[in-house]
């Protein structure tokens, strides 16, 4: 039993070394920030649209369409996640700038990019579950605790970016 667990741990570690090696090469290639069509993204994740489709389509057609939407949404979230990583890297590069204001701004951006990156992982988990079970809608039962979390996130956003309209609204 111990041997099996140790070998599993060793294999996992070696796999992560390989992933690290690959991602390092990707970073060195240095991708720029990819453009993102946010209005298209909003249309894609619109729940009202989903309710309409659920009523109008057959079960199998709806499932197929929902999975397709999830796949495209996944790509958008992936792009946001990638962009956040680029921002983190850029913020890290500017930390030794002689201007303290630049350093401060870079710090704030890095903070926000970290938050976004973490939220992207939550979004990936949610999309994965919905892809496996298209009939499932995770939101309503968890609305209250999520709202609390949302408020906390928005408070953070307000402190980082006072001009954000959504942050000021809550």
């Amino acid at each position: 039993m111990t041997i099996v667990l140790v070998i599993a741990l060793a294999l996992l570690t070696i796999t992560l070394f390989y992933v690290g090696l690959r991602s390092r090469r990707k970073h060195v290639a240095s991708r720029p920030i990819q453009p993102l069509d946010l209005s298209a993204f909003h249309t894609l994740i619109d729940r009202d649209d989903e309710v309409f489709l659920r009523e109008k389509l057959t079960r199998s057609e709806f499932f197929r369409l929902k999975r397709l939407r999830i796949r495209v949404t996944w790509k958008y979230v992936h792009r946001i996640s990638d962009n956040s990583a680029v921002v983190l890297r850029l913020a890290g590069m500017t930390r030794q700038d002689p201007d303290p204001q630049v350093v401060e701004t870079a710090l704030q951006l890095a903070d926000l990019a970290t938050t976004i990156r973490m939220q992207c992982f939550v979004a990936f988990a949610k999309l994965a579950v919905e892809f496996m079970l298209p009939s499932m809608q995770l939101t309503p039962a968890m609305l209250a605790p999520k709202y609390e979390s949302l408020r906390a996130n928005l408070m953070l956003l307000r402190t980082l970016h006072p001009q954000a309209p959504l942050a000021a609204a809550i």
């Binding site: 140790v6 741990l9 690290g20 991602s23 060195v28 993102l36 992982f121």
Partner: protein, 249 residues
């Protein structure tokens, strides 16, 4: 024949270790990586001492003491190197440091618990109780090292952190060596002294491979990263809102 096979990688290791020590000293790496330099130099000096004790065959007791002393020093300095890698990796990301520190504190506790449980569940094929106790302590230490390196790589992958040339080389070399060490010490505990000759060869080869990785990363020029334009904070806030809408919709 067996002794020759055992000695060859050992002697090769001494040569590669001397080369590594030279590279570290020439490149004045002690300024940037004092713990790693201490680890490499201490390993080199202890290997010479151990080799001398083995070749001169002072006594079985002397070899036993020298071997476990070098293992203890290597284990302790290895953990210190993991800490140094952690510090260097997160140096450009102050925003992540607090979160990473909390995660790593939790990971240390979990890994010590895991090490304790695995060692307790481990069936011991070793006849000497003292030897078995040393191996168990080493197993727990290696689990801690491997687990922390795993957490480090996982954390870097999740947040897309950029590994600098030297830091990545040190982490990769140490990671390969300690992972093989963990498997070897577990096998040694399980199967006893019969597994020792083959495991010693595997460990020597892994250690030599790690040193080759360290030397090649130290000598290779740092790959340049092309600068990209920093986005506006409002753009990030928009991405943030978009993802939150997806999560909380």
């Amino acid at each position: 024949m067996l002794t020759k096979t055992l000695l060859s990688p050992w002697f090769a290791a001494l040569l590669v270790q001397s080369l590594l020590a030279t590279v570290l000293l020439v490149k004045r790496m002690w300024k940037k990586f004092p713990l790693f330099v201490s680890y490499a130099v201490a390993n080199f000096l202890l290997s010479i001492a151990l080799y001398a004790v083995y070749v001169l065959w002072v006594s079985r007791r002397a070899y036993f003491n020298a071997y476990w002393f070098s293992e203890a020093v290597g284990l302790f300095l290895g953990l210190a190197v993991v800490f140094e890698i952690f510090r260097h990796l997160l140096a450009p990301y102050p925003a992540l440091r607090r979160l990473a520190t909390q995660i790593f504190q939790g990971a240390v506790v979990c890994l010590l618990l895991l090490g304790g449980i695995l060692s307790y569940a481990q069936s011991v094929g070793e006849h000497s109780h003292i030897q078995a106790a040393f191996f168990i302590v080493e197993q727990v230490g290696r689990i801690l090292e491997v687990g922390l390196l795993l957490c480090l790589f996982l954390f870097a992958t999740v947040f897309g952190l950029h590994w600098r040339q030297y830091v990545f080389g040190i982490a990769l070399g140490l990671g390969i060596f300690v992972t093989v060490e963990l498997v070897a010490v577990t096998m040694r505990l399980q199967f006893g002294v019969v597994a020792s000759p083959i495991l010693n060869i595997v460990r020597s080869v892994a250690f030599n491979a790690s040193m080759v990785i360290w030397i090649s990363y130290l000598l290779a020029p740092d790959l340049a990263t092309s600068p990209a334009e920093m986005p506006k904070r409002a753009q990030l806030a928009q991405w943030n809102r978009a993802v939150m809408e997806l999560i909380y919709q």
